[in-house]
């Protein structure tokens, strides 16, 4: 029962913050609210036993992203332009959202052991990680060893994205003119 109350209040909090973000036109408030959203999401991930994901969400989503978004705020206007609701766009958005909700109904139940994702390579990781890798945290052994190529790709993505951002922001290309 207590778990239900915590889950429901966290989900409610996420929904309320989401609605506030949509309604708010001051970008400063939107950034702070998205930080709060990330922090609530991190709390939810802890409840879902995804501690590593929660850690990342709290550090990256709530921490650094908020600071970087505030930095972006110095380049853009402080207020979002007020726009009227377009019926066509509204219909398409609502339809897509409805379809996604319908798709959720077909997904396996949360924590179900019959879910496909728990029956592919995950059993091997869970049973063999101790003897093959010898690292207590299975998440680390999957991330750095079993899926080392993926993590190499992720690091390369961060590298490439950062180089692109520096090229745009520091204006290296403009010096030639």
């Amino acid at each position: 029962m207590s778990e239900f109350i915590v889950n429901a209040s966290l989900m409610g909090l996420l929904a309320i913050i989401g609605v506030l973000i949509i309604q708010q036109h001051r970008l400063f408030a939107v950034i702070i609210l998205s930080g709060a959203y990330s922090l609530s999401a991190a709390a939810w991930f802890v409840i879902a036993d995804a501690v590593d994901v929660a850690f990342t969400e709290a550090a990256v989503g709530a921490g650094v992203s908020t600071v970087l978004a505030l930095g972006t705020l110095s380049y853009v206007p402080r207020e979002e332009k007020a726009r009227s609701v377009e019926p066509l766009a509204m219909t398409i958005s609502l339809g897509a959202g409805l379809l996604l909700l319908l798709a959720v109904l077909d997904m396996p139940h949360y924590g179900s052991d019959a879910a496909p994702i728990h029956n592919h390579v995950a059993p091997h990781y869970i049973t063999q990680s101790g003897s093959e890798i010898g690292v207590p945290n299975i998440v680390t052994s999957v991330l750095a060893s079993y899926r080392g190529f993926d993590t190499l790709g992720e690091t390369a993505v961060i590298f490439t994205a950062a180089i692109a951002v520096f090229l745009i922001l520091t204006g290296w290309t403009r010096k030639k003119n």
Partner: protein, 173 residues
């Protein structure tokens, strides 16, 4: 914000502990939640907090951007180099078993190196991104409050000059 003694004293206490915690997350990732990504971000937060509280120019002095850009590449190089090293030791790319005589010890070593590379790249990227954003617009704009920004900027600028020499130096350039 530069002149607030509470913020300055508290952040002076916090910055070393933040960095120590980042190192803990980095090297304890094998045993608990955490790893290179999280540790890199937390480590970068130490530098970012320093730059926000004590001025962007002083923050840049602590970790110069030339060194920073090299660290970004170095992290990725450590990761890729670990894979190349395992190739030379008759293994597959990123096969840590061959890095040491004992496969499990090799895995430990490989994961440590790889996480180090990730942490180095992520922390340098975060710090460099922050400075790229903070330096192009005037840094005062990032720190000043929302609506009264224009008025405050005119007020705080001359005030900050005698108080903080490095900040005043950089504000001109």
């Amino acid at each position: 914000m530069h002149d607030d003694p509470v913020i300055r004293v508290v952040s002076k206490v916090l910055i070393p502990s933040i960095m120590l915690y980042a190192l803990y997350v980095q090297f304890h990732g094998d045993y608990g939640p955490g790893g290179g990504f999280q540790a890199g971000v937390i480590f970068a937060v130490g530098f970012i907090l320093n730059a926000i509280v004590f001025g962007v120019n002083r923050g840049r002095h602590v970790w110069p951007s030339s060194l920073n850009l090299q660290c970004i590449a170095l992290g990725l190089l450590i990761y890729g180099g670990t894979g190349v090293a395992s190739l030379f030791l008759d293994g597959n790319y990123l096969d840590y078993n061959v890095l040491s005589g004992d496969p499990v010890a090799g895995q430990h070593l490989g994961i440590l190196l790889v996480e180090l590379g990730v942490g180095l790249t992520v922390s340098s990227v975060m710090v460099a991104l922050f400075f790229a954003f903070a330096m192009r617009g005037e840094h005062v704009r990032l720190l000043a409050h929302d609506s009264t920004e224009g008025k405050e900027k005119a007020k705080t600028k001359p005030k900050a000059k005698p108080a903080r020499k490095p900040a005043a130096k950089g504000a001109k350039s």
